[in-house]
Symmetry: D2
Amino acid sequence: MSFFDHYISVRKHTEHICSVLQTEDYVPQPVPFVSPPKWHLAHSTWFFEEFILKKYLDGYAEFDSDFGFLFNSYYNTVGKRVLRTQRGNITRPGTDRIYEYRQYVDMHMEIILQLKGSDTEFQDIVTLGLNHEQQHQELLITDIKYILGHNPIFPVYNEDIDWEAREEEATGFIAIPEGLYTIGHTADGFSFDNEHGAHKVFLDAFEISARLVTNAEYLEFMNAGGYSDFNYWLDEGWSWVLQQDIHAPLYWHNIDGEWHQYTLRGLEKVNPDAMLTHISFYEAAAYAEWKRMRLPTEFEWEAASSLFNWGHRWEWTHSAYLPYPRFWKPEGAIGEYNGKFMINQMVLRGSSCATPKAHSRNTYRNFFHPDERWQFTGIRLVKL
Amino acid sequence: MSFFDHYISVRKHTEHICSVLQTEDYVPQPVPFVSPPKWHLAHSTWFFEEFILKKYLDGYAEFDSDFGFLFNSYYNTVGKRVLRTQRGNITRPGTDRIYEYRQYVDMHMEIILQLKGSDTEFQDIVTLGLNHEQQHQELLITDIKYILGHNPIFPVYNEDIDWEAREEEATGFIAIPEGLYTIGHTADGFSFDNEHGAHKVFLDAFEISARLVTNAEYLEFMNAGGYSDFNYWLDEGWSWVLQQDIHAPLYWHNIDGEWHQYTLRGLEKVNPDAMLTHISFYEAAAYAEWKRMRLPTEFEWEAASSLFNWGHRWEWTHSAYLPYPRFWKPEGAIGEYNGKFMINQMVLRGSSCATPKAHSRNTYRNFFHPDERWQFTGIRLVKL
Amino acid sequence: MSFFDHYISVRKHTEHICSVLQTEDYVPQPVPFVSPPKWHLAHSTWFFEEFILKKYLDGYAEFDSDFGFLFNSYYNTVGKRVLRTQRGNITRPGTDRIYEYRQYVDMHMEIILQLKGSDTEFQDIVTLGLNHEQQHQELLITDIKYILGHNPIFPVYNEDIDWEAREEEATGFIAIPEGLYTIGHTADGFSFDNEHGAHKVFLDAFEISARLVTNAEYLEFMNAGGYSDFNYWLDEGWSWVLQQDIHAPLYWHNIDGEWHQYTLRGLEKVNPDAMLTHISFYEAAAYAEWKRMRLPTEFEWEAASSLFNWGHRWEWTHSAYLPYPRFWKPEGAIGEYNGKFMINQMVLRGSSCATPKAHSRNTYRNFFHPDERWQFTGIRLVKL
Amino acid sequence: MSFFDHYISVRKHTEHICSVLQTEDYVPQPVPFVSPPKWHLAHSTWFFEEFILKKYLDGYAEFDSDFGFLFNSYYNTVGKRVLRTQRGNITRPGTDRIYEYRQYVDMHMEIILQLKGSDTEFQDIVTLGLNHEQQHQELLITDIKYILGHNPIFPVYNEDIDWEAREEEATGFIAIPEGLYTIGHTADGFSFDNEHGAHKVFLDAFEISARLVTNAEYLEFMNAGGYSDFNYWLDEGWSWVLQQDIHAPLYWHNIDGEWHQYTLRGLEKVNPDAMLTHISFYEAAAYAEWKRMRLPTEFEWEAASSLFNWGHRWEWTHSAYLPYPRFWKPEGAIGEYNGKFMINQMVLRGSSCATPKAHSRNTYRNFFHPDERWQFTGIRLVKL
């Protein structure tokens, strides 16, 4: 596949994710951490316009001078922007106009890719833009799920998606010997700056589960009073349970005594054998405590990752999101990509059913606050 | 005009207000007090379905069993409902489906109006529904203005509307003698329960302005430091100014030293001779204090109303919204219409440029909290 | 009694109220609307220093230059001040130092009263200061009750006070004929500016209860589900009930199925025949609605007040706190006394068991927000 | 020193810290994270009563049955407790009564120590209680500083304490070679559970500063616009700066262009050569970013700690507070000591001028949220 074909296939996949939406679905931002689909479509496009076309394509005319202000996400370097919490109020430009924007930018990207496609530094930034777009593809799916899943009439996104009900075959625990392991990205190919700085980490021997926790296992915890005994919870996790009145994973509803969950194909009974999903770090840690086990560190996870199947759920680790040794954020706006978020978040490893193909590797460091659970998260345990 | 023609003309006017909207504009709820246009279209329809069709039309089949839950506003009597603050997240049913709902209900209303149109009690409820719809017509306009007016690209609603720029001819003050005046609705025709209970009120002699305060007059107050001298403000008004960082009426923007305002035809320079609008009760009272005058009571306003032109701006009075003597709220859901809001709000009299024709009278009692200003509000003064 | 003797007897009474406190009790501000007893002692003294000694006594040396900043309440005219919510953090100056301050100011007041005691304008301001101090005497008692009453060990303030348990003899309703009544202060003697502007009010005939609602009557409302049926409540009152989880009057505790209340002599069983107290306007209005009666307006109350006993409870009226005709706030700091609070509050009439002797009259207008209930409030009904 | 003498010397030191307080100073809780001195005195005593006397001393009669409820801090296992945010409202029991409580408990501790002093398990719990009390000694000092330091009249705590002005001699950087280092407590003597689980950590070579950052160095950062350039800040740190309007370390005041700081001996000019203190993790990390260096990890700090002087400031590390391998919280209330706080906090190492003698070691793990700065915190840098 040519680089442009690769470019266009990523871009089209974003639009494919939205192809079943109604125009109204593109608009709302029900909570600050969920962005309107419209905004994702425009913001991922703005990235190419701002960091590539305006910089490298001579004589490029901005599609619309308002868009920089409207669709910048958090790049302080680039200028003023709409407050994150206000994204849902911006009805115009409409969805059609944003699709025109995508087309306009893609057309110009075709030109610049023909001119400069073989320049390595240039290709690196385009590749960053495509990886950025792939991150937004996953967010698009989870944000759409959040929007539809909080509608009391539970609309179906796609009848053919069975992600929430998927089961896993593996059993048992895998023993990993003590030793010095190299952690971080060393292979060829794209990676984010937060994976760089490969370094040695000493690990004690440990045993890690070959499979993820299932709904049935988690229901045992729930039925044993897991949500009402403070002993299993971190202190701030317990406050979260009480203040938010949490009694089950996100999207779970108890209907006439039976647990259902909202899935991308609508409201369904919980499949007990499926991999649990949509739990926060607090819930993952409480479950592990109750089970008298623990979560792996991100180093243990990476060291063991070739020995189990991963890719269905983002797996919470017990590591905080912190810089690797020798991490230094790049100059300029690109430097705002990862480093400034390295506080108060926990690392998740692997990838999920919603992650685009070819956008995962065992050194990838995803991160969320310990109370966030609208991603397809899951639990893998390590013995004490 | 037949009663059904009247019915249908009111209903069509609601849709006419929305005719220039893009689908996306129907969705958002930028602040709790502004509802999505989609919601207004459905809720005013739900009123007829709930209180008329389900009650009076034998064999009527609900259009959609979810709609009662989705589009009830605040009628606790009728059952559970979507939280007011969540209206902007409900993307489905889509706008098309809501227009179908309107059509379906109108079709059945035609039937029931033919069957029972001459029944007085029945006609009274339909008339209440139409007046209810007219109230939502005004809210539709002011909510659309709020949505578009908080978009940084300031979209035009309708090039032909010049309401914000309108001037008034009258001058001077009108003297009203002391005496006992009858206050409240006594004429034939529709009125709300909060206007009933006509009663005598003794008024001292007073002099009331023949015209509303203009932008130029209000700019004098602003330029005299009105927003930075606590002396003119009620204590809670002063807190509002400080906490919300208020420096001008809503929709005003100072661009390179010149005052502009967002209007329904876009961003324009402020016309100094136009009637001031979009000010809160706090601002109205502060302006009056600075001018060493006062606002009229709602009783003074009503007693004098035949002697000046009104209808361009809702005029803040210095009366709190309280029950008239012998007010008693009707049984059932209809009883939730007015009475339960009679606390912490101030009365506005007259009507505004956004009020539907034939939906105003000099006994009409509108009411808002003292900090609210997204309606077309204005100021009329009385001498101390 | 000489004017100075009068002065000193008011001042000593303030200290008498505090005589049973421990030093620690003088310090806290558990909620913004409750001030530390220490602060009341100093603030009422500051009033005399600021408005009298510094203005009229030549060569007067301020007791402490920090005190103006520390003990100004809300007089923006006078200068900067400690934020209202921060009063509980100011441990120094200590209580002893504040008693010295009182002594110092009283000593100088003795001098100035000898010099200028016969000057009418001067006497008026001293009289205002004494009435101001009397208002703080009542607040001292209710604030002390709040502090002690929110301590889980329920300390006794004074074994000899039986206010909460007091009963009333009167029965029946009193009929008042329609007519023009003069409302506002016209007699000799002190009154606040908010009572001035006596004016005629036309009243329809009405019947008002000769006695206040008792605990037993209110318990009927509670037992009939009064706190769980939205129908009885104003909309904002109902939100208050839900958000604050209100189920009974303030200071009531259900212990093993029996209602107790914290009183100034400790925790006691509720006396069913005693006059109900510590209810908000929302509760008063809901009770009246349930009873199918209503609260009097402040005008009805004043017109009928000579025909019933009052003085045990502040009686909620259904009148908002608004300026009387021709009200104009005085220039300068004294002008901040009443006028700026005339929004979002309801009028209470009469006085309470905690009101100092000789600090009540039937034109007195007290006012609180509709959710406030730490004063000794009560309910008197009018027939519909 | 006998074990009892040791016990009593720790206990007396707590009282010595409070010896210069006025009674009023014992009461307030200005912010949730600062507890009243009264509460510290009682809570540290309650620990001995609850975990030792009630368990081990036959026939022990509780001093007061309310105290368990009043002075439990966060031990859910032990039962209900006063909400943390309400501690400042509990004026009774008074300070005198709390000193009686201390005496009563100490008297009984003398008895039990004679009976069981040689039992190792028993001695371990008493030792834990004494270390717990020493932690509260440091909090007492920093909480008193907070209370007095937020009083606009800036009272002096102790004229003889010069901690904030202290200077340091050392210079240069210390090179540490790469290698496997053992981290965690292995020596004899007391340590907390969070230090246990000694384990090997591989470290790359690094260079760490021999001395802490001075006020003069930090002023360079401030003068270079450090507080107004988002580039130096973590994203949540930047929000903190904007929302809290942060422009300098805690307790710093710019008076007529000159920087002063509140110290335990009153308001003083900032000594440029003194060790910087009272900065948050956010400020420490921003300073390091500006300096193009970084903070050490807690492992680097521990590995290098024997080569520099520490003990003046708690030194922020770039490590999140997480469990060591094999950490497992003890059963029962003692298990609530550390583990449940291991989220959203950063580790500080060393100790400070306010730490009691003999309550520090190089494996000690202190922890605070990244925005907290009322402890005596400081900055030590590592080269990139």
